[in-house]
Amino acid sequence: MDPAVSNLGLWGIPLAVLGGALRVSAPFLFVSLGECITEKAGRVNLGLEGTLVMGAMAGYGVSYLTGSPWLGVLGAAGVGSAFGALHGWLCGRPRVNDVAVGIALMLFGVGLAFYLGKPLIQPTAPRLPALPLGNFSDIPQVRSALAVNALFLLGVLAAPVLRWALARTSWGLVLRTVGESAEAARAMGYDVGWVRFWATVAGGALAGVGGSFLSLFYPGSYNEGLSSGQGLMAVALVIFARWDPVRCLYASLLFGGATALGPALQSVGITSGYYLFNAAPYALTLFIMVLSSSNERASADQPAELIVAR
């Protein structure tokens, strides 16, 4: 992070956390929106961590080969949908457990990305541009904190659009029906497996886009330590956001801020607990899960066909 932040004294901390939140939250946002779609249809994809890493690798590779970072985003979405399709197809078989398949695809995706990504660690691919939203200010730290990526803004827009689509459009209704009661959906003549398959594909595509953000904007290069559980935290975050896309957005910003805490403190010279602060987002996730889970009853907003939050 920018060492100049320290000139602002302790005010640099909230500023760095804010800037970090705007930068770091995008992967959380895209993965959680994707998982939201999948879970609304009554299925859990725990493999989005693997999809995220695959998306980061594919986005970086396509951007490097074509010279266009936006084609990279598209490629990441394509790879993400392929992983979603694999998950959706496998879970459509009888007696195949979706949580277990998610774990398997998490390990498979990470392994495959590491394998295919070996040649991508050295070269530099063109990155996504940033929009300088902080130009009203003369302070360079404010400017750098508010240099927001266009892809992130797309995600911010996608959240209310998705909420509206789930609530008000016919396909949103079908999706929710399948998630609330497969029998009712079947009685109405909808193919439950088909809807869930496409919900998983869409979720995978969004997670892939989230991965491309990691490699093409922030941190902005490809390496094997790129994702450390963001994909999985995003799945937990959906439970916390009670399956509402707009609340997913707020939760993503919160998580982004928590992730940025360690580097922000480091930037003002507090380095002693740096590695400990890396645990902040995980601890926050766990804390929030404890608060938002209950042994007695399922949350009223939870799709009834869903088993993960049981």
Binding site: N97, G111, N278, S293, R310
Partner: protein
């Protein structure tokens, strides 16, 4: 649970062969989907390396050589199988209660750290005492870690899969904090490590082998867990919970404590794996502990269908595959992640094969 159970239902007066054969066939049927999955995995990974421009037959021959081909490589595989047995238990035991715990990597890491800390606390004590202290400390730490995931599940309904993995990340962050800061040996310059546990306190080799005692720990732990799950009231209760949690609750079983205790035992197995790595391989706790044994243990448990005895051969197989990774890298220039790809394919295909379980028949269906 076991395939031989229906044997008692056979009418009397049948010959020995008539009794054994159907049971054996049924046992093979249970194995069939797994073997089929392994076969498909071999084909799929073969296609994968062929796409990468290598002859799959040569790659497999080399893998066999690197895993089991020589006495040296076989012992190397055994070395890698030892922690896999223990981390496999970390997923397999909770699975018997219907829980999917995947935080073995974190339990291993905190176990390794606790072992190093115990050795430091017992500095100067006789080696047997230090080793016992390291074992106890590591099992306690790992047990607390996964036990906490179980407690969150049992008491608060927090999903144990996500919870255990989050705890695992927290454990790794804590480990990095300690090894980079308060508990760092100032003498470790390039690779931050804890102070060495001392040459005298290292685990020795098994008699006649170049394999450390940790292998015996792994085997004994698997056998002990088998006895616990199959031949005790506790294990029976746990399996009832796994089969039907509602029935278990209605019949008065204390489901929360069963969950917490089983998870704690599972975690202490993974913690012990960390102690084995510290006390037999590295001599101190450092980042090399995070070699992926915890994640590979998930696959071990699923391949063994959460049967604690079946973990033994499966861990040897995967240990062999891991051991051959270095040779593949040297001979073919395949990245070390090739082994992860192979394991990932195996995992996905294995779960897909579940759909054929019970539908592949070698014998006539029992009437």
């Amino acid at each position: 649970m076991t395939a031989s159970a229906p044997l008692a239902l056979e009418p009397p007066g049948k010959s020995w062969a008539q009794r054994i054969l159907p049971a054996a066939l049924r046992w093979c049927e249970g194995l069939l989907p797994t073997l089929m999955a392994l076969g498909i995995t071999v084909l799929a990974f073969g296609a994968f390396v062929a796409l990468a421009g290598h002859n799959p037959l040569e790659v497999y021959a080399e893998m066999y050589r690197g895993a089991f081909g020589t006495w040296f490589s076989f012992q190397n595989s055994l070395l890698r199988a030892a922690p896999l047995m223990l981390t496999g238990l970390c997923t397999a035991l909770p699975a018997r209660l219907g829980l999917m715990v995947i935080g073995g990597e974190g339990a291993l890491v905190v176990g390794g750290m606790a072992a190093a800390a115990s050795a430091a606390a017992l500095r100067g004590a006789p080696p047997s005492l230090v080793i016992a202290g390291m074992m106890l400390g590591s099992m306690l730490a790992g047990g607390v870690w996964i036990g906490a995931a179980g407690a969150l599940r049992a008491l608060r309904g927090v999903n144990e899969t996500i919870g255990s993995l989050l705890l695992s990340y927290i454990g790794i962050a804590l480990f990095n904090h300690l090894v980079e800061g308060p508990f760092r040996d100032p003498a470790s310059l390039n690779k931050p490590s804890t102070p060495p546990i001392g040459e005298a306190n290292m685990l020795g080799n098994l008699p006649g082998l170049d394999v450390h005692v940790g292998l015996a720990f792994g085997i004994l732990a698997c056998i002990a867990c088998h006895v616990l799950m199959e031949h005790t009231v506790f294990g029976f209760s746990a399996r009832v919970v796994g089969g039907n949690p509602r029935a278990a609750r209605l019949s008065g079983l204390r489901v929360p404590s069963l969950i917490i205790i089983t998870c704690a035992i599972a975690g202490s197995a993974a913690g012990l794996a960390g102690m084995v790595e510290v006390a037999a391989i590295h001599g101190n706790a450092n980042a090399s502990l995070m070699a992926g044994y915890g994640y590979a243990g998930i696959l071990v448990a699923f391949l063994a269908r959460h049967n604690t005895i079946a973990i033994l051969p499966v861990a040897l197989l995967l240990g062999g595959i891991n051991a051959s990774g270095g040779l593949l890298q040297r001979t073919f220039g395949l990245p070390d992640a090739a082994v992860s790809v192979l394991q990932g394919i195996a995992f996905v295909v294995l779960l897909a094969s579940e759909t054929y379980r019970g539908r592949l028949r070698l014998s006539r269906a029992p009437s």
